[in-house]
């Protein structure tokens, strides 16, 4: 089973890296970019877990315990199949 965990900064948390990227996009002359927030994507292969529900459960545990710092980050789990 393939899955993707996306980790993003919570609203209101300052993202200096996103700001720097935003500035760089402007300096490239790319028009219409209002703001940029940087996040992380984890592509995960799951083995030996039969059903989708269990896979989601496992990924939530992985995100809560390591992949995301829930003080400043939100995460989203997608089991792709």
């Amino acid at each position: 089973m393939k899955a993707r965990v996306t980790v993003t900064l919570k609203t209101g948390v300052l993202d200096p890296q996103g700001k720097a990227i935003e500035g760089a996009l402007r300096s490239l002359g790319i028009q219409g970019v209002a703001s940029v927030r940087q996040g992380k994507v984890f592509d995960i292969e799951i083995d030996g877990v039969g059903d989708r529900g269990k896979a989601e459960e496992l990924l939530k545990q992985a995100a809560d315990r390591l992949l995301a710092n829930t003080v400043i980050e939100n995460y989203h789990v997608d089991v792709i199949g």
Binding site: V13, P16, A20, R65, L66, N69, V71, I72
Partner: protein
């Protein structure tokens, strides 16, 4: 004082820390590898030094915070044992949940490596009894992610309970955004756990203890710990 210095792959300040502990306490600290599951018998103080554990992969301190030795550190802290985390050590303590909040990228996006002035907010703790409240000390910083943030409720609690021990300040002790080098909330440079036995701080007091290195303002922290444990 029986100290134990934790060693993770990518840590690079453990020898400075061990040297300072030996110089100030007269006793060689134990060096404890991250895969160990126990601290040496009778450890009074656990020190998590600075560096770049696991190359700062994922988030600064995130991987180290989940290593085997950290369970022993949690148990030590739960028994009221003293824990000091400096720089990456502070980041590891936050990631391990032993201290609240997060150290984010410095607000001006630059790695900063120079001396700073800190105002010592309290002198009635094991970590600051070698100083006077309000005293300004000069110690170095070397970090790219030292910008302390936490939610408003947590910061209010830290302030209300007097758990901010060190703040970035001007040389005269005034709190001024121009001297808050990394943009930390309330100029926070070091905080105490709710039980008062775990300190995390970004600056490196261990690098200012010998006259040959310039100021010796960092010595008070370690001398205070020795004095506290001897009392």
């Amino acid at each position: 004082m029986k100290a134990a210095v934790l060693v993770f792959p990518g840590i690079n300040r453990e020898r400075d820390m061990a040297r300072t502990l030996r110089l100030v306490s007269g006793r060689e600290p134990a060096m404890v590898w991250h895969a160990d599951t126990e601290l040496p018998q009778g450890t009074d103080l656990v020190v998590i030094p600075g560096g770049f554990s696991y190359g700062d992969y994922l988030r600064c301190g995130a991987i180290a915070a989940r290593s085997a030795i950290m369970n022993a550190v949690r148990a030590h802290a739960a028994r009221d044992g003293l824990v000091l985390g400096v720089c990456n050590g502070f980041q590891i303590l936050c990631e391990a949940g032993l201290l609240p909040g997060v150290l984010m990228r410095n607000s001006q996006l630059k790695f900063i490596c120079h001396d700073v002035y800190l105002r010592v907010e309290r002198s009635d703790t094991p970590f600051t009894c070698g100083y006077n409240a309000g005293q300004v000390i000069r110690v170095p910083v070397a970090h790219g992610e030292g910008n302390y943030i936490a939610d408003g409720e947590t910061v209010a609690r830290l302030e209300g309970e007097g758990r901010v021990l060190f703040r970035y300040a001007a040389p005269d002790g005034m709190i001024d955004p121009n001297w808050n080098h990394n943009g930390a909330m309330n100029a926070i440079a070091g905080i105490l756990s709710d039980a008062g036995n775990v300190l995390g701080m970004m600056p490196h007091p261990e690098n200012h203890v010998e006259e040959s290195m310039g100021p010796t303002d960092g010595r008070g922290l370690f001398a205070g710990l020795v004095q506290h444990l001897a009392a």
